[in-house]
């Protein structure tokens, strides 16, 4: 018995075909994984099911009945709920207030919060969510906030729950808990569609997996009949190597030394609280931590983008604390920023201009204040070829490139400046497997050339694969170092959540 049947779904955006005749059949009471790389068309397909997009072709049946889902209200009425990747919660409101938002119960014109609270408590108990209905959103953890999102869909009577990459924001322990909750939901008769590109989670949690590649459905098969390698090659369309080849590191003198660093965030609250960190030439130090523990502020402080309130940052022995960004960059820091579209590129500049974004005022690009465009474009042509940036030419706007190629351009720009310290923040977020392999190779290459690399990533696999040492950041401090060769993901997760682990292999 299928609860969801999508047949021949086609959706175009301009000339781009996001979904090309996709079929998806989901059985009642199963956890059905929707697997594909970023940009493969998973989210588009689910947005169609949730009524956010209208397909050009194809039919949708819910519980065997043909339906037209013209907007999300229709989807909700059909019992479909979506847990978005980015939470849509009002921070100063309580859990209950958030859940009833848009569907408030009233008695004689007054909000009946008490009844709503009871209802939320009942649902929370029924599905083992352990959410306090009176807690304010801003006081609860990200994992809890996600459960509030789940409760929101249940409160609206959802039987079919769509989870859009739910594990991206969670620690390993929270992921375990989420998987337990998903299994509980299914036991209680719900059906779950789980969007992801993480193979491990599919193997652990799901019953069936449907693989989508470049807008087409490739295969749909029971999870028990397959394994990670098989799924990976289905997803990418070729065999992929998971391991990264690298020789043991030959760490030398310290390049970056951070001592007692204190930095405030945008709200004026201390986000980095007395942090110490050393990165030496010839090693990759990975920073592992749950998002929001001071990572962004640390990077910005090192690169001069944010004021340092106390402590010292030294680069090759020179004090660069609170120096101007330009000076720090020219002293040998390369920076692959966390948010490539906001920080890394001027999207409406050409690729050529973007590749000279930092060095435009130096020879050979500038003579006095005169900017020499022929040099800018010649330089861009070389880098485009060397780093395999797929673009029609060097005059194309950066906006027109795919995410992977935008990132390659940034990496080309930063690596080419040959920095002593390369800071890579989330260097592969949202990229496909091919681009990830390329970027990983480049980072290791820098290390092997005797450069220091500081890696920030929320993807634990990436941190464990690339790093020579892992530093764990928690509440604005480095709480310990671990050896990636010996540490397990569980130990790492525990330390990321504030628990104690093995201390200092540095």
């Amino acid at each position: 018995m299928f609860v969801v049947e999508m047949e021949g779904i086609t959706k175009r955006f301009g000339s781009f075909v996001a979904n090309d005749g996709i079929d998806l059949r989901v059985k009642r009471g199963e956890i059905h994984a929707l697997l594909g790389e970023n940009g493969a068309g998973k989210s588009t397909l689910m947005n169609i099911l949730f009524g956010l997009y209208q397909p050009e072709e194809g039919t949708i049946k819910i519980n065997g009945k043909k339906v037209t889902i013209s907007d999300p209200n229709v989807a909700v009425r059909l019992g479909i709920g979506m847990v978005h990747q980015h939470f849509m919660l009002v921070e100063p409101f309580t859990v209950t207030e958030n859940i009833i938002l848009g569907k408030e119960r009233s008695r004689m014109g007054f909000l009946d919060l008490k009844r709503a609270e009871e209802e939320v408590r009942r649902l929370s108990e029924q599905y083992g969510l352990q959410v306090d209905p009176r807690a304010k959103i801003r006081d609860i953890s990200v994992g809890m906030q996600q459960r509030v999102e789940i409760l929101k869909t249940l409160y609206r009577g959802a039987d079919i729950l769509i989870f859009d990459e739910p594990t991206a924001v969670l620690t390993p322990q929270e992921i375990d808990e989420l998987i337990d909750i998903m299994k509980r939901l299914v036991q209680e008769g719900k059906t779950i569609i789980f969007i992801t590109h993480k193979l491990k989670e599919i193997m652990r949690a799901c019953d069936t997996v449907t693989v989508i590649r470049r807008g087409k459905m490739i295969d749909s098969l029971p999870v028990s009949d397959t394994d990670e390698n098989r799924l990976a090659s289905l997803m990418v369309g070729r065999d992929v190597s998971f391991s990264v080849e690298k020789a043991p590191s030959q760490a030398k003198d310290p390049v970056l030394e951070v001592e007692g660093l204190v930095v405030k965030d945008n709200r004026g609250i201390e986000a980095v609280k007395g942090l110490d960190l050393t990165v030496r030439a010839g090693e990759i130090v990975g920073i592992a931590g749950v998002d929001g523990n001071g990572q962004s502020e640390l990077i910005e402080a090192i690169t001069g983008l944010r004021r340092v309130n106390a402590g010292v940052v030294r680069l090759n022995g020179t004090d660069v604390t609170n120096k101007k960004t330009r000076e720090i960059l020219h002293r040998g820091v390369g920076h692959i920023p966390e948010d490539r579209q906001k920080r890394g590129l001027v999207l409406d500049f050409s690729i050529g201009e973007n590749l000279a974004l930092i060095t435009y005022n130096r020879s050979p690009f500038a003579r006095g204040i005169r900017l020499r465009y022929p040099e800018v474009f010649a330089h861009a042509k070389r880098l485009i070829e060397q780093f395999d940036v797929r673009t029609p030419d060097e005059r194309t706007a950066a906006r027109a490139l795919s995410g992977g190629n935008q990132q390659k351009a940034i990496i080309a720009r930063e690596v080419e400046r040959d920095p002593d310290l390369l800071i890579a923040a989330q260097p592969t977020r949202g990229l496909d497997v091919g681009a990830i392999e390329f970027i990983h190779r480049r980072l290791i290459e820098q290390r092997d050339k005797g450069k220091a690399v500081l890696l920030f990533s929320l993807d634990l696999d990436e941190v464990m694969k690339l790093s020579d040492r892992i530093a764990i950041i928690f509440r604005g401090k480095i709480v310990g170092y671990v050896d990636p060769k010996t540490v397990t993901e569980e130990e790492l997760g525990l330390m990321m959540a504030g628990g104690k682990g093995e201390e200092a292999t540095s």
């Binding site: 050009e56 983008l305 960004t325 720090i328 960059l329 906001k342 409406d348 204040i369 005169r370 900017l371």
Partner: protein, 356 residues
């Protein structure tokens, strides 16, 4: 912020042409409703600016300050700043120019040159304060430049009455030595008030092109205008770009005021309201897509409409206000990006047919 990005990105020519045509249609409808003959009105409007050498000269004179204020607004726009204060910078430019003209005694040419330069500098200083406030305190430039407009307005009126005249409504005429009218130019366009401002305007357009697209300073301006976060990341000083851009923008507007004073008006009166050349600069910049060439073309159009609008009043009995309505309609169409909308409509319509 989105407005800046869009204004700096769109392909402006098609949008400008469509918007102008639609704006004129709106004007025509208005005329029909009010009982005027739009065909006669428009033919008078577009014929008269070009018939006599005198008219051509006067049209060019109308165009010159529009180019300069248009460039002023455009260069700030490129840096992500909305300089509503071109009006005030214009007034200060004209005020300082007449002070130099009346209070200094200098030989010809030099006198005019000093008056022009100080007028431009005064405009720059008038824009500097909002620039500094924006860069250091985050004060929005729209608010501060509007306030600076009123400061300029009342300062000008106060000085005209109390210092530059003896309690009268206007100052004396500027001496010959400070004039920027040029005999050879005037003899071509018999007796019109055309002056060297047009040459300066074209030079400024050239300068803006060179600065924005041929220098590292302009590279910074454009980067800051499109993405301040990335500019900061790349080590540029966003503050410096904001302040420099405001300085240059203000000097352009100040020069517009100075040339009008030394070439067209030759004396300054008590202002009853803003004369609107600075505000028109916003319209010119927007229609011209913030490019130097676009600004020149837009200024030509608005200049022709303004001058032709005056004669239209005589020939077709249509009130001048109709032309201001046409201006406003054109700007609304540009701001609403009508072509984008029409093109989108057209595409969607075609797609539906394909699928049917």
């Amino acid at each position: 912020m989105n407005l800046f990005v869009r204004a700096n990105r769109q392909s402006p020519l098609l949008l400008a042409i469509v918007s102008v045509l639609l704006g004129m249609v709106v004007g025509a409808i208005l005329m029909l409703v009010a009982g005027y003959d739009p065909v006669r009105a428009y033919s008078a409007l577009f014929r008269t600016p070009f018939t006599q050498p005198f008219d051509i000269g006067e049209t060019i004179r109308t165009i010159s300050p529009l180019i300069m204020t248009g460039l002023a607004v455009a260069i700030a726009f490129r840096t992500g700043l909305f300089n509503i204060g071109a009006e005030g910078q214009y007034i200060i430019g004209q005020l300082v120019a007449i002070i130099v003209a009346l209070k200094f005694s200098l030989p010809p040419v030099l006198h005019a040159l000093v008056a022009l330069i100080l007028g431009g500098l005064a405009g720059a200083l008038w824009a500097l304060l909002p620039g500094i406030l924006k860069a250091t305190r985050g004060v929005h430039e729209v608010i501060s430049t509007i306030m600076m407009n009123f400061l300029a307005f009342y300062l000008s009126n106060y000085l005209v009455r109390s210092w530059l005249s003896s309690g009268a409504d206007s100052t004396p005429m500027i001496p010959e030595s400070a004039s920027i009218r040029w005999d050879p130019l005037q003899s071509i366009f018999v007796n019109s008030r055309i002056h060297l401002g047009i040459i300066l305007a074209l030079l400024l357009a050239l300068f803006m092109y060179w600065l924005l697209w041929r220098t590292t300073i302009g590279f910074e301006f454009r980067a800051v205008g499109l993405n301040p976060s990335a500019s900061e990341y790349a080590g540029m000083s966003v503050k410096r770009s904001i302040i420099m851009s405001m300085l240059i923008s203000g000097s352009f507007a100040g020069l517009a005021g100075a040339t009008e004073m030394l070439g067209t008006d030759e004396y300054l009166t008590i202002l009853t309201f803003f004369n609107g050349l600075g505000f028109d600069g916003i319209a010119v910049a927007l229609l011209g897509g913030n490019t130097p060439l676009g600004v020149i073309l837009a200024a030509v159009l608005f200049g022709v409409l303004t001058y032709g609008g005056g004669t239209m009043q005589f020939e077709a009995n249509v009130p001048f206000e109709v032309i201001r309505v046409v201006f406003a309609a054109i700007i609304l169409f540009v701001a609403a990006n009508v072509t984008g909308w029409i093109v989108e409509r057209f595409r969607r319509g075609r797609k539906v047919k394909e699928n049917a």
